[in-house]
Amino acid sequence: MAIARITHLSYWYPNAQDAALQDVILQIEDGLTVIAGPSGGGKSTLLRVLNGLVPHFHGGRIAGSIEVNGMDVIKTPTRRLARTVGFVFQDPELQTVYDVVDREVAFGLENIAMPRTEMAARVEEALHSAGVSHLAGRRVRTLSGGERQRVALASALAMRPRLVVLDEPTSQLDPEGAAMLLDATLRLVQQGRAAVIAEHRLERLLAAANALVTVDKGSVITGPPTPPTPPTTHPIARPAPSQPGRLAWSMAGVTAGFGDHTVLDAIDAAGHQGEVVALCGPNGGGKTTLLRLIAGALSPTNGTVERRPGRIAYLPQNPTALLHRPTLRAEVAMTLERAGEPDEPDVILTQLGLAHLAGRYPRDLSTGERQRAALAAVLPGKPALVLLDEPTRGMDDAARDALTRLIAHLKESGSAIVLATHDQDLRNALADRVLRVSSGKVT
C-alpha cells in the first residue's frame, strides 16, 4: 500500500535558479525504501519533502503535489505532519533538545500536549523499539554517536509515525555505531513500519529493501533494490609500497590528555616522507589527540614530538567549520597564497570533482560536497605533512575514489600522510602501516 505519492513535483530553494527536484514522480510503499545517489543530487531535499520541511521550513517555490498518508503536504504544516512522519537527521548532536534521554524522547509528545500519564509508556515503548531501553535516564552528552542516533530514532518513534525517514543517519558514526543504527532500522521494518533511508552504505540495507530510489541532479529513478552501477571512474592502483623517505615526524615517550584525564600514555611512533600511516581504533581511543600532537596543535604533558619543517595540511573532525570564504575557489586560493605555492586553485578542485562548484559559496553545498570542499581547502599544493581526521565521512563512492587518488598522488610527491579513519577500504587502498590507537596505547 502506498504511504506517499509524489506527482510531478519540482522544487526550487529560495533565490536558486536551478530546481533541486525536477518533475519527480514517486510512490513510496510500506516496508523499506532506500534512497541512493551522489552527494548534492537532491536526496536530503526529497526526504524533507516527505515531512513538509520543504517547503514549509526552507521556503522556496514548489510545483506539483505530494500526499503522505492521505494528507496534502503542501497544505499541512510540518508540526502537524510530525505525528505521521518521524525524521532522523544526519548529525546526532544537532537534533538534541534536552540533556536527558527520556526527556529527549518525550520532546515530541510534549509538543503535541500528550497527557503525562500516557507519555511515560510511549517513551518506554519508543526506547524499546529503537533498542536503547538501557539508556533511559542517561545524560545525552555521555552517549556515543551511535547511541545518540538511536535515541534520535526513538524520539521519532515516540510519535508512532506511519513513516520513518532517515537522512544519512550513519554519516557521522563509526562502523560500530552505524551497524547499531542500521540494525535498529531493519528491526523497525520487520515490525511492519514503513521507512525511507538515504544512505551510502547500501550493502546491508538492500537485502531488506522493497525499493531503491536513485536521486541525481534532482531527478529520481525508481528500481528494484539491486546495487546501483558504480560510477565510471579510473581504477585506483594501489600505490607501490614506498621506500621510506626521511623521517617526517616522530614522538618519543609522549603522554597527553586533558586535565586529569590521560588520553595517550608513553607513546613512541614515527612516520616518513612518502609514507601513509593509518590510525584505527574505537571512538575516544585517542586518534584525534595523536593527530593534534603530530600537528603541534596540542602539547604533550610528557615526552617530545618532532617534525620536519614544512607546511602541515590538517583536516579536523568537523572540517566544514573551516569554510568561510565567498567561493570555494577563494577558499583554496587563501591556503595556496599563505603557503606561497604557485598552483592554481582549480587543480585540486578538478582532482576532487569540484571544478563545477568552484564559484559557489561553500556553505551552500550538500554535506558530502562540503566534506570535499574542506579537503580542497587544506590539501592544495605540496604539503610536507598531511593529517586527515576521518576524511571519508559522509562521502559517496565517487568522492572517496577521488580522494584516494589525491592521497596517492601526495604520497608519490613525498608528503608524509597520517589518516585517522574507520574506513577499512581507504586503509586497504593506501596505508603502508596501520597503527591501532586504543586505551591510551598505540600498537
Partner: protein, 271 residues
C-alpha cells in the same frame, strides 16, 4: 530541589546585594551564596566559577580605584598628565571599588545554581505554562553552547595550521566568522529538528511533574522573609567619601542576610 525555590532564593540574594550600598551586608550575601553553592554543587564544580568571579570582581575594583580620584586618604599619586589614570589614588576609592566588586561577585554566585545545580529541563519545567515554548527554545539553545566552544577550539587550531596568525582584532575574523556561521547553521538544524517533532503545535505538556517539597517551601519562605525583613529593617547606607568609615550594622537587616544561608542546610540535606 525545585527550580522555583532556587529562583526565589537567587532573587532574594540579588535584591539585597543590588539595593544596599552597605558592604557589610554585601559581604554576608556573598558568603551565603558561596556557602550555599558549595553545599549544593560541591567545591570541585565551583573552581571555574570562582576563577571567573575573582577576575571580574578584581577588574571592577581596579576600575573604580583607577578612575575615582576622590577621598582624603591618598595612597599614591600618578602625574596628572597621564590621561584618565593620572591623579591621587585613595583608600576611599579602593574601598568603594571593593564594594562594587563584591556586588558583582555575589550576583554571579547567587545566579550560579541555575547552571551548576539544575539541568536545563528543570528550569524549563519550573516555568509557567505560558512560557513553556520559550523555555523549550532556551533549553535547546543551551545545549548548543558546548558545541560552540568546541568549534572555537577546533577552528582556531585548524586555521593556525592553514597559516593564519592572530594579528590584531581584524585577523580574528577568520576564526570568529566560521564559528559564528557554524553556530548559526547548528541553530537552524536544531530548529528544523524541533519543527519535525511538532514544536509549536500549541500548548505543551511535560513528561515530569514538578513538585515543591517541604524544603523547597522552607527556602521560598525564608527568601521572602529575608527580602521583607531587609526592607523593613531600613539598612543604613554607606558612602566612603570623603573619609572612609566602617559601615553601620543593624540587627534586622543582619538577620535578613543570615536567612540567605538556609540552602546550606536544605540543599545539603537533599543530597
Amino acid at each position: 530541589m525545585n527550580a522555583r525555590s532556587v529562583a526565589a532564593w537567587s532573587a532574594a540574594c540579588l535584591f539585597i546585594v543590588l539595593f544596599t550600598t552597605n558592604p557589610a551586608y554585601k559581604v554576608l550575601v556573598l558568603a551565603a551564596a558561596i556557602a550555599s553553592l558549595a553545599a549544593g554543587a560541591g567545591l570541585n564544580r565551583m573552581r571555574g566559577l570562582f576563577s571567573a568571579v575573582v577576575l571580574i570582581a578584581a577588574f571592577a575594583t581596579a576600575l573604580n580605584f583607577a578612575s575615582a580620584h576622590l577621598g582624603r586618604t591618598t595612597l599614591f599619586t600618578l602625574p596628572q598628565q597621564i590621561p584618565a589614570l593620572g591623579g591621587p589614588y585613595t583608600l576611599e576609592a579602593l574601598a568603594a571599588g571593593l564594594s562594587g566588586g563584591i556586588t558583582v561577585g555575589a550576583a554571579i554566585v547567587a545566579a550560579a545554581p541555575f547552571s551548576l545545580m539544575l539541568a536545563s529541563h528543570d528550569v524549563m519545567d519550573a516555568l509557567p505554562a505560558a512560557l513553556s515554548r520559550t523555555g523549550a527554545a532556551i533549553a535547546a539553545s543551551l545545549n548548543l553552547v558546548p558545541s560552540v566552544a568546541a568549534s572555537f577550539v577546533q577552528v582556531s587550531e585548524a586555521q593556525r595550521l592553514r597559516g593564519w596568525k592572530p594579528r590584531g582584532p581584524r585577523s580574528w575574523a577568520e576564526v570568529v566568522v566560521p564559528v559564528v556561521l557554524t553556530s548559526v547553521e547548528g541553530s537552524i538544524q536544531l530548529a528544523e529538528s524541533m519543527e519535525a517533532r511538532g514544536f509549536g503545535s500549541g500548548p505543551r505538556t511535560s513528561l515530569k511533574a514538578t513538585h515543591m517539597h517541604r524544603t523547597d517551601w522552607i527556602l521560598v519562605a525564608t527568601s521572602a522573609a529575608a527580602v521583607i525583613a531587609f526592607i523593613a529593617g531600613k539598612a543604613a547606607d554607606w558612602y566612603p567619601y570623603p573619609t572612609l568609615h566602617p559601615p553601620d550594622i543593624d540587627t534586622v537587616p543582619l538577620a535578613a542576610c543570615l536567612l540567605l544561608f538556609t540552602p546550606v542546610m536544605t540543599w545539603r540535606s537533599r543530597g
